[in-house]
């Protein structure tokens, strides 16, 4: 029975050798194209911060930016993931960065204190300092060239998706935690878009203080329309999240609410170019504010 002994030794050694493989041995064979598998791949991409990959996967499942929000073919959870990916890819913002930005202190960017100020410029820069000035400039360049501003397109898409998922008039007592969180996300995304829109119409932000560069005399890219939409979704998001009444320590929500009040001085929920110009004038005393 020598062959039995030889076979035995071979089998046992082979099994121990094969076990040394590091990767999953079935990785290239496993079923990775199912809807559930794709959803999980997208979630993993969101976890690791690979937002481009997340958008690629999720747009295949839901529909791309040419598909109307009402015609997206995926479920709510997947739409929420898509909105998250759009927001993060457009602005580079995520919650950990928000916390770090709020708490960090450097010579050029003093610690951000999220308390509401009577100064419009102080409140405005609490949001604008979270953004990448170069991305705003790139957006303006794209618009001047007659192409879409990718940042604005994606952020608008995210806001529209979240807006479509959330009721305009929810029953307050029955809003789930998940939906409250989505309302808050809608409010914050809208506030960020509002600030970006102000930046676009003003020719960008000054890198030294994150305030608008110029006081606009026209609105060639119709940022007033975006700002009016944002005023509505800020109100919807912040109010229905309950954050103003139930969470007094979340000062960023109060800051957003104050920016809205300081912009919409007539308090009618609509602004025009005159009100926008007046608001930007309150932010900067001279135009151009920087070279």
């Amino acid at each position: 029975m020598n062959y039995i002994r030889t076979l035995s030794i071979t089998l046992v050694l082979a099994s121990f050798l094969l076990a040394g493989c590091g990767e999953n041995m079935f990785k290239n064979q496993a079923e990775s194209t199912s809807e559930e598998a794709q959803k999980e791949d997208a979630k993993i991409a969101l976890d690791t911060g690979d937002y481009v990959q997340a958008i690629t996967i999720l747009e295949k499942m839901c529909g791309d930016t040419d598909t109307a929000v009402t015609a997206l073919t995926c479920d709510k959870d997947t739409k929420v993931d898509l909105a998250s990916a759009y927001i993060a890819e457009a602005t580079g913002l995520d919650v950990l960065k928000l916390i770090a930005e709020a708490e960090s202190t450097t010579a050029s960017k003093p610690k951000t204190v999220y308390s509401v100020s009577t100064s419009a410029s102080v409140n405005f820069t609490k949001i604008s300092k979270l953004l990448n000035v170069d991305k705003i400039s790139e957006c303006i360049t794209q618009l001047n060239a007659g192409t879409e501003c990718r940042m604005k397109t994606r952020l608008t898409r995210a806001i529209n998706i979240l807006d479509s998922l959330l009721s305009d008039t929810p029953v307050t007592a029955s809003i789930s935690s998940e939906d409250k969180n989505l309302y808050l996300q809608l409010g914050i995304a809208s506030a960020v878009d509002l600030v970006i829109s102000v930046g676009v119409v003003s020719g960008g932000f000054c890198p030294s203080d994150y305030l608008p560069k110029t006081i606009p005399t026209s609105d060639p890219y119709n940022m007033v329309a975006d700002i009016n939409r944002d005023l509505g979704t800020i109100e919807k998001g912040i109010v229905n999240s309950g954050i103003l009444t139930n969470f007094p320590d979340i000062d960023i929500s109060n800051v957003i609410d104050k920016i809205k009040d300081q912009l919409d001085t007539s308090n009618d929920g609509i602004i025009n170019l005159t009100e926008l110009t007046a608001y930007i004038t309150s932010l900067i005393t001279t135009s151009p504010h920087c070279s």
Partner: protein, 363 residues
Amino acid sequence: MDYKKRIWIYGLILLGLLGFFGTVEVHAGEFPTLYKGIRPLGMGNAFTTVADDENALFYNPAGLNDVKGFGGVEIINPTLEVSQTGLDISKDFQDIDTDNVTEVTDLLGEYIGKRFSLRTSVFPNIIFHNFGLGVLGQGSVSGEIRNRVNPNVAVDLKTDVGGIIGFAHDFWDQKLQAGIAIKFIQRNRFQQTYYAIDIADADFDPTSDFNDNKKTGSGITGDIGLKFNPSLPLRPSIGAVLQNIGDLDLKDAGKIPQQLNVGISVHPDFWIFRNTLALDMVDVTKNIEEEEDTYKRIHMGAEIKLPYILSLRVGSNQGYTTYGATVDLWIIKVAYAYYKEELGVYAGQKEDARHVIQAAIGF
């Protein structure tokens, strides 16, 4: 953000990451099982036709027929399982300045999407030829933060207490073996997903949530197992076990579905070494519908037993390498296993590495 709230937020995230809030159950992910023995885990969890010790009560009661005479008693055998991620973040937190928000958020960012888990169990038992009895006490905890853009913390806490009894019999001089096991389990479970807005709430109190939302349930079910052992070189064995007949329904605390597992093994012994090579496929009928992938159901393992003292194991659990060892000093037995569990939808999508250690006192 005031200091107190910041402490709460970081504390919750840290505790979630360290697994102090519970085990997470996601739609696809970890296969639902009641108990995983350390010896099977070291060999890829391929144990349907290998079970010849106390693990037979969970893997295939027909294996009780392979126990010779008095198989042994384990008076106390605590097992501790901890995820590699839990070990890593514990170490990393010691290396940073926890008052520096940037360092803390950078560190937390590295662990988003990774699961932190902890499991402890004791299973005192007594095993004879054709009979086995054991009492199970088990607690498991894990947590996971997902989506760095819009984070949520999913937590799940589980405790199981119960008993299991098994019987076996053989036919045609052990060419066919059959066994049955009956198990009763009572479970307490707490599952919750927290969003940023929950954590920011001034009234946020996870302890109160636990007391209010904990679910309790108990259930009884059985397993039926078979093994066929033809008289051939290398002593092959072919087996099947129907686990959790009719489902182990724990009412509000969840359910462990019925599943049919099959396996095959051979014993290429030589010289003083007693060896086993095994291959299993679990839930062959795909009764666990949310688990679509066939490769997640495949387990392979090998064991080398040196006389008396040392056993070495290696395997492949759902495609991931496993290894383990046992040092048997008669009254005291110490065992270790390392394995990875698939948390994703398909094999290779999302791994979770775990270390398991057990010390058993018995004879």
